[in-house]
Symmetry: D2
Subunit: 359 residues, 4 copies
């Protein structure tokens, strides 16, 4: 592909939350020209009917999701139901950048995929978490980051939003050998957009307002093998993670509290902070907050940031990490655009902001 | 004290959330006559100015919180700042039932009190959690419950709301020896009324709406020694608990996710459910939900219930418990009234409901 | 019907919000024994699956909604879709008290019914708003209230929730001739439970959280003819009402701002307050708040109250009224139980509270 | 002032919501370099302590609000308490663009100012609502817009947020002579950030969550004379407006329902829509939505848009308009930046988006 000044991007699954968030960001991206927008059952409708908040694209007509409609673009973003992306991607040229917002290409282990998703593995694509720490595997001892593998990539799998939050919270301790990974516990307060536009009773406003609702309790959550995969990449031997998401009354946001036992009981907070600071030094989007300042999801709404804080619970012998991010931005579409920028050789932060829409 | 048909109750600290909730419940209690309502800086105002939702008592004038104003009642409920209740209680007759909604008399260990609250220990009163399991200490092997110690009591310390949630979630497994207590992790989604009427910036609606905010992260939370005390009473040897509360956009409610490692890896879900069912068999207010049904705080709003669910995370080797309750009811004032009923020999459920105000 | 100590009550449509709220209140009503609970598509399920907040009735099995299942009760509460209640009621004995929570029997004018609901009129039943002011029609000049018509009634139509709010707010001024009814404007902030358990995209938590959504704008709302009917009953000649409901992020509650022009520009606030005070003097559930205190829906959550406040906007020449109530209680099921108490000769307030669950 | 490629901007009152929102937008404005940030009691603190969502400026130290600290910038944005801006502005050079986010310079009529704000009038500055319609006053009959008066301006007063919403909703009908202005009624659902960071009990999350709270009822609201001023500018003779704001559980947003009587009863919806379409034809930020699509505040969160819809209530003889906007963006800081762009000859939309952060 020849680098054009303007990058044409098509979005398949443009009427859902993930596709919509990709459009919201891409519509304001200085180098992007939004191309075809496709949908399944909503094909034929104007985008404004389904994404009325994106005024700039309100008059676009949704086309059917077919390979024909997706061809001819530099980038294709797929926000499709499980199992649908592999087939479409297989028919797109190798030099087109295809970004999957769904789960199909996240896991490297086919058995883990089948166990948790119940279908045949579609293969793994380069993982869209540039800040993922990669423990040295070649004896050199040099820590690298996933970013390197995204440069020039033409297939990218965007991580699960909950996974990104837990990974970014824990990985520095794992990488630095400060945190035991055989008994990790994570509990996440999550916003309702993470559940998509599913019409299910418990997702109604009348049910969610003024309430906290747990779901997928007991290890069955599909994000567990993905977190485990990331922490192993960061240097963990084996990983055992107890993971509980709780829906709380906000439309966006993930606040992930993730704890792991200290490998050495006497580890100080300073040592812990140093490991997290080193892990994220120079990172534009992931940041360890100043000591004493705790992240809130409001700080990250609409921004591509993940804000992290750590504490040492001396009494419990654990490191407690808290990570706040916007599930639709750094958790989904922001990660996609950030990875796209890297893959295409654009400035990594182009079209993305670190300013959250708060209060 | 001679048992009267009507029980006169005074409430000190009637303009705050805890005192107000006590009044809301007591105003509809068939055997109670609400007596003096006292306050500190709000003395002189009509109750309706500060508790406009309690129409039946709107015209009551708040009196200053003095021993004189509290004398002459069968029951005195104290909803006062830390350190204030001991002094007042010392001047009330021994046969008056004094119920402390605050923390002053919850802990039995003076050192734990001083370490976490920074002041001198006021002594421990009978603990207002009737369902608390008490491991046999006399060699008989018979499990008892805290309820027995509330019968005829004339001093009662109501537990901390977060403590009640975590205790009720974990104690059956502790008592049955199924759960290791040396590495417990609890993360709680909590509503804003738990923070009281404090005028602090992070407690503003503009800050809390649409956001999740962690606080007291890292083991410093005052509820930790109280949970530990309860689990030791239920049979634990040593207890180590990592505890993180997260404020989420609801005015009431606690959803506590508390996990502990299985003592025996092969423990089945059935064995675990049996232990929880036995612990709460016949309890009017604490219930293990049917398998597959997860508690939400909405189910408990305004009711004196604590709804519990358990899962076994085989992969992580942990039991995961979720408990939902209303922080102001079973977490505070409902527990007070329930304990009062027991202490005075009234039907335990009088004036209390198990019907949550949902949706 | 012979008055029994215990009143048996059946509820048809027990899995929806209106039926559920009736059950929540009836489960704690001292004179009521809850009988058959019926449903349509949910028949066969345990009530606890659909109304998990009503622990006392969780094990009840939902029966199919048939006349057979509803016979044999003193009272039958119908919470059914439009058009379904007339047919069932016709087959129930005349001495059974049938209470319709739906719209079918609210309007007296068949043409208004057909115009707004599009079906054939099912006839009007005694209207379940005891506080409704009835202008004298017999030349005596004595104002009466709808309560009189509920004594001994055996058919009751519960008002629309929005209608109750607007009616209670405006009627005293209409009755006293202080407010012109030819140009009324009402805008209501309403909670999501008012829309029922419909699975519609705009009713999802992800859509409703953090947003305000207007609906039924422009006079098409079905509550308009009902408000007009009530104000005519209160003494209005002709009524023209602009009515706009706006969904806001709360699960329960209606805050109705309703304004009408002053008939006499010099009318003082004192005169206005007097008219409202007189209208509600002695009423247990409807109250004009003290001057300067404005109603909030939180004050009424879970209670059968409607709290009203008035102001005179001298500059605009209008009376502005604000009414807060809980759409499911005074707006639906509380009104039903209050009317039931009146019809059966029980104390009007039995089983109902004036204490809102706040904060 | 010579036009620089980069515009230096100072913000006074940088720790409040209005100043913070100005910073959030300016931090990403391609032509702006953020200069001095000043505060009163928070001087000396890092901005990140008070505006933790604006990562790009987190390390900036807040300076005291003095003229010295504000000099040397091309633009000075004032987000100060009432009465403070005039004094500071008087000491800034005439060629510095000073933008007041507060109320001091909004009203042209000194008597109206004194009546509603209680202090001496500070004088009126060019009004920062570019889309404000200006009825011809010179007999030419040509309608102009306020935008013209902002070109080259060096003093700008940003409108009140509620005023912008009501003005944009009603002015097209006023300008086209379709709407009577002698009996306007507006009721607004507003988010809590509109009340600022005031530490007042009713603004606590525990009070606001799950509730709707009216305030400033009865014509006393300071926004009334400002709406009247705008509608007179748009062509109204006299204006009478009943205005009621209601706080609802969202952090941002205004949904304004504003109605006025039709001057001619037979006016069709098509005629009405045509007037609104003409008023906003070509406007980048104000838009009449397609027929049948109603604005929600979620559509505008974080964007500089105002979305409008109209309906004709034939029965009530009124036009009903609904306008949604973000109180901090189009209602405050977005309006400031838009006006700044116009004043400095930059593309009007620079640094501003029309994409709302939804869901």
């Amino acid at each position: 592909m020849v680098m054009h000044m303007t990058i044409t991007v098509a979005v398949a699954g443009a009427s859902g939350y993930a596709g919509g968030e990709a459009l919201r960001i891409l519509a304001d991206h200085p180098e992007v020209e939004v191309g075809a927008l496709t949908a399944h059952s909503n094909a034929g409708a104007a985008l404004g009917t389904h994404q009325p908040h994106i005024r700039a694209l309100a008059d676009r007509v949704l086309l059917p999701t077919t390979v024909e409609n997706l061809l001819g673009h530099d980038v294709v973003v797929l926000a499709l139901p499980h199992g649908a992306s592999a087939e479409i991607a297989a028919q797109l040229p190798d030099d087109v950048l295809v970004i999957d917002l769904g789960a199909d290409h996240r896991l490297t282990d086919p058995d883990a995929w089948t166990q948790f998703y119940g279908t045949e593995h579609a293969g793994a694509w380069p993982y869209g978490l540039p800040e993922l720490l990669l423990a040295p595997t070649d004896g050199t001892g040099t820590l690298t980051k996933q970013r390197e593998h995204l440069v020039g990539a033409r297939r990218i799998a965007v991580p699960g939003c909950n996974v990104t939050a837990v990974t970014l919270g824990l990985q520095p301790g794992v990488s630095a050998g400060l945190v035991d990974t055989d008994d990790l516990v994570a509990v996440l307060a999550v916003g309702y957009s993470g559940a998509g536009k599913s019409l299910k009773p418990h997702l109604l406003a009348s049910e969610g307002l003024g309430s906290a609702q747990p779901y997928a309790v007991g290890g069955t959550h599909r994000h567990v093998p993905e977190v485990e995969q990331n922490l192993v990449a960061a240097g963990a031997g084996s990983v055992r993670l107890s993971f509980t998401p709780v829906l709380v009354p906000m439309s966006r946001g993930i606040l992930a509290t993730a704890t792991g036992r200290l490998t050495a009981p006497g580890t100080t907070l300073e040592e812990v902070r140093r490991a997290w600071e080193q892990a994220y030094d120079g990172e534009p989007f992931v940041e360890l907050l100043p000591e004493g300042q705790w992240p809130t999801t409001a700080m990250t709404v609409g921004a591509n940031t993940a804000l992290v804080q750590v504490a040492v619970d001396r009494r419990a012998g654990r490191v407690v990490t808290v990570t706040a991010l916007d599930n639709l931005v750094k958790g989904t579409a922001g990660a996609a655009v950030q990875s796209m920028n890297i893959a295409l050789g654009l400035p990594q932060t182009l079209g993305l902001t670190t300013g959250g829409v708060a209060p």
